[in-house]
């Protein structure tokens, strides 16, 4: 069931301005990254989350600093929403010293443990069992922190999904699995390769879980839905599986023109753009347009300045090649 946003006057998130600003930061980060990709500054590949900002921003707003998140190669939104610096995030895309991972990870592996973000994973499904582990760890350490694990609709068909969901349920782990159903796995409509209409929610009962479908483009709905699951997890009542319906405005990766989309689909979803919708909500609730525009200008400036700083950063020093393989600090495969 797609839930509807709450009443028009009170905005259903704790810090509406903060959420608005966050969604804008995600959006403008991605737009800037795309521009710089076309200019040849981004190495390798890149998967943008434009259009999916409400999930990352709404989810992050439900968390404490000691909570854990894990995401995918389409993961810029999630690490930034947890608090990672924009310049370090850009820097990682550009393979620079300033990068979150010193340039060793790249666009698909943005990680900021400092902010509780335990990695972006580029092999589909791999991080779902890992999320069980961070959640299990909290339980073992007697901490009441919660793990949020983001993944796509296509990920629900891989074996690791099944193993992780079952173990989380059996061990009642404090983890919330959030499927961002953006209709496509790469170029293939998810319905063509999935035995059920709702790739995540229709599997929930296989793990004794409630099916939960939310409007992933309504940040208030996202916040409410995930907050409830996070609370449950924090109370020790076990995992949840949430399917958030959303859409990526860009292609799958790099410069994919997304020709596989039926005509009108993008346009249709653009009318449900999560930022536009939230702006409408804020305005209905009495925020004035000029304030909102000012915030957006501030964000654009912040993002631009961060990109500049990242571009000004040098590549990692050659000495970095052999560090971080083993804890001893070099490639100590021989003694």
């Amino acid at each position: 069931m797609v839930q509807q946003a709450r009443s028009a006057t009170d905005i259903g998130v704790p810090d509406p301005e903060g959420i608005y600003r966050e969604m804008l930061r995600l959006r403008h980060f991605e737009e800037k990254a795309y521009e710089l990709f076309l200019d040849g500054h981004v190495n390798g590949t890149m998967h943008l989350g434009v259009g999916q900002e409400a999930v990352a921003a709404g989810a992050a707003a439900t968390l404490r600093p000691d909570d854990c998140t894990l995401g995918t190669y389409r993961g810029h939104n999630h690490v930034i929403a947890r608090g990672a610096a924009l310049d370090a995030s850009f820097g990682e895309l550009f393979g620079r010293e300033i990068g979150l991972c010193k340039g060793k990870g790249g666009s698909m592996h943005l990680t900021s443990v400092e902010h509780g973000h335990y990695g972006s994973y580029a092999i589909v499904g791999a991080h779902l069992p890992i999320a069980c582990g961070t959640a299990w760890s909290a339980k073992l350490r007697g901490a009441d922190s919660v793990t949020l694990c983001f993944f796509g609709d296509g990920t629900t068909n891989i074996g690791a999904f099944h193993e992780a969901l079952n173990l989380a349920a059996v061990w009642k782990l404090p983890v919330v699995f959030i499927c961002e159903n953006n209709l496509y796995m790469e170029f293939t409509p998810i319905g063509e390769v999935t035995a059920v209409p709702r790739p995540a929610a229709d599997r929930a009962s296989a793990y004794g879980l409630k099916p939960i479908v939310i409007d992933g483009n309504d940040v208030e709905v996202v916040y409410a839905g995930i907050a409830e699951a996070v609370d449950r997890a924090r109370r020790g009542e076990g995992p949840s599986l949430i399917e958030a319906l959303t859409y990526r405005h860009k292609g799958h990766s790099r410069t994919d023109p997304a020709r596989y989309r039926p005509e009108g689909e993008l346009e249709d979803w653009m009318t449900r753009d999560p930022i536009t919708r939230f702006v409408q909500r804020l305005q209905e609730a009495g925020w004035n347009a000029s304030d909102l525009e000012r915030i957006e200008r501030e964000v654009i400036e912040e993002v631009g300045a961060a990109a500049e700083r990242a571009l000004a950063s040098p590549p990692p020093p050659e000495s970095e090649l052999f560090t971080d393989v083993y804890c001893a600090g070099e490639t100590s495969w021989r003694s």
Partner: protein, 323 residues
């Protein structure tokens, strides 16, 4: 002859075999309507339709298992595992089932299937999309292992792999997908297990595979220009069957051998080749066999670091100086 890109040669080989043999099927993620993420199967779906080209969910274990079950019962599947790194997600099917079934059953089944994947670095995709793992496959008895370096070899060897009655893991070099070369337009099949001597020389032997063939050839040119030494360059083309004979003949002539391999140390394929040559051609060795490999680290995504990590001309020249 036609000028084809390496990736177009993949499609050409599959098309040739699909037309020739009604049991050949292509199966994988986005190999159909999408044309493959590397465009290596572009045009096949339009040409042969969904009865021959099968798009799957993201289910590598299911892809590999399905290919295996079909291969045992009269089909010749060509299964794509998009990146060779992902072989790890279905390694049980490959290493424990496909490779062993014929032996375990006392020869009751054949396993005529091909597992294609994009292998190797150089495109800054980071540690989980850049590995060269042909050594993983070579280490499993029961598999054949092919890794072509040119568009023509892609066509000839992929056709041969499809016709072969044993399971073949076919490593396509990611970095080379856009490289062009002459490819025979007519039916074209090469034998598996025949190395290719790409350059003759009497002073030393350079052994390479797939992406490092270019490195070896460039090194040989530099060497000739700089110090007047003539290197023989051998493209192994297959790791299983391994054409030891061609390498031995060259070594007997040159007495000195350097291996350029993209597998990271330890245990790249050059280690086995070295060991075989030491056991069987010890007296031919005028100098140690040196291996130039990817460094023993996960591959970094930053181009600056990635370049340092992979075997290149400079590191190969330096190795030659150590002979």
């Amino acid at each position: 002859m036609a000028q084809l890109m390496y990736r177009q040669a993949v499609a050409a080989a599959i098309a040739q075999e699909i037309e020739r043999d009604p049991t050949v099927m292509l199966i994988g993620e986005d190999v159909g309507a999408g044309g493959g993420v590397f465009k290596a199967t572009e045009g096949l779906f339009e040409r042969f339709g969904p009865s021959r080209i099968w798009d799957t969910p993201i289910s590598e274990q299911a892809i590999i298992g399905t290919a295996m079950g079909a291969a045992m019962t009269g089909i010749r599947p060509v299964a794509e595992i998009m990146f060779s790194d992902f072989l790890a997600t279905c390694w049980d099917g490959i290493a424990n089932e496909i490779a062993k079934m014929r032996y375990m059953t006392g020869g009751q089944v054949c396993m005529p299937l091909v597992i294609r994947c994009a292998n190797g670095g150089g495109v800054h995709f980071g540690a989980q999309h850049s590995q060269a793992v042909e050594n993983w496959a070579m280490a499993v008895p029961g598999l054949k292992v092919v890794a072509p370096s040119t568009p023509a070899d892609v066509k000839g060897l992929l056709a041969a792999a499809i016709r072969d009655d044993d399971p073949v893991v076919f490593f396509e070099q990611k970095e080379l997908y856009a490289q062009t070369g002459e490819v025979p337009e007519d039916e074209y099949v090469l034998p598996l297990g025949q190395a290719n001597v790409l350059r003759e020389g009497a002073d030393l032997t350079l052994v390479a595979l797939a992406g490092t063939v270019k490195t070896a050839l460039e090194t040989a040119e530099r060497l000739a220009a700089d110090v007047g030494q003539e290197a023989e360059v051998i493209d192994l083309r297959c790791l299983v069957p391994l054409d030891v004979q061609t390498v031995k003949i060259s070594l007997a002539k040159t007495g000195r051998l350097v291996i350029v391999e993209e597998n990271p140390r330890p245990l790249g394929w050059g280690a086995e080749l070295t060991s075989i040559l030491v056991e069987e051609a010890f007296d031919s060795l005028d100098a140690p066999i040196i291996r130039v490999t990817t460094e023993p680290i996960p591959l970094p995504s930053s181009p600056t670091l990635e370049r340092l990590a992979r075997p290149g001309v400079e590191r190969t020249l330096e190795a030659i100086r150590r002979l």
